[in-house]
Assembly symmetry: C2
């Protein structure tokens, strides 16, 4: 929630990057991690997170395994081989887009 109408288009990239770093994570853990890293400025809603995870699983870039902890179900997500390729693509797109946006908006313009 809270002031991120700009999330569109980068949610998948954020999720994939976290899974690239952490090997396996479950949904709730992802929301907490994003909140922590951004000092509470970006809060993923379940209504956007879970459908996005399901979609990527259906596309074959994520795989799942379920565990039971304290009587509560945890569904862990991991990158597949295709997922690892997809992260690189998405990150490069993000790098490029952010660079262009910074130039357009005069925010920390690209040196060089």
């Amino acid at each position: 929630m809270s002031a991120n109408g700009m999330l569109k288009g980068s949610l998948q990239t954020i999720i994939l990057k976290l899974l690239h770093e952490n090997d396996k994570m479950y949904g709730y853990e992802i929301t907490q991690k994003v909140k922590e890293i951004t000092n509470g400025e970006i809060k993923l809603t379940e209504g956007s997170l879970y459908p996005s995870l399901h979609k990527m699983e259906a596309e074959g870039i994520l795989s799942t395994s379920t565990e039971l902890v304290d009587n509560r179900t945890r569904k862990y997500y991991s990158l597949t081989k295709e997922g690892h390729l997809e992260v690189e693509t998405k990150l490069e797109e993000a790098r490029s887009f952010i660079g262009n946006l910074q130039v357009l908006l005069n925010l920390n313009p690209k040196l060089s």
Copy 2:
């Protein structure tokens, strides 16, 4: 077009920033300016640009004036008083969001 699925959410900000710098611009001119600044990496489509301009005009943050140049109509857009306020808000949002995204994706992480 071309590799900017991440445009969602920042199109208005880009337009407003250009109008903030240029006092008045017409649609086609905006597409050319964005293409020029980003070395052709971001190409605004008419299908997204014009509806966005119309919407902002309806909201009262843009005003228009039409001119005829070489027998072709040009519809110039300018920021209204509200538009000038809106630019600041949008820019601050963009600054914040990009900062968070950079930390999440490990791209030029914020020093400090």
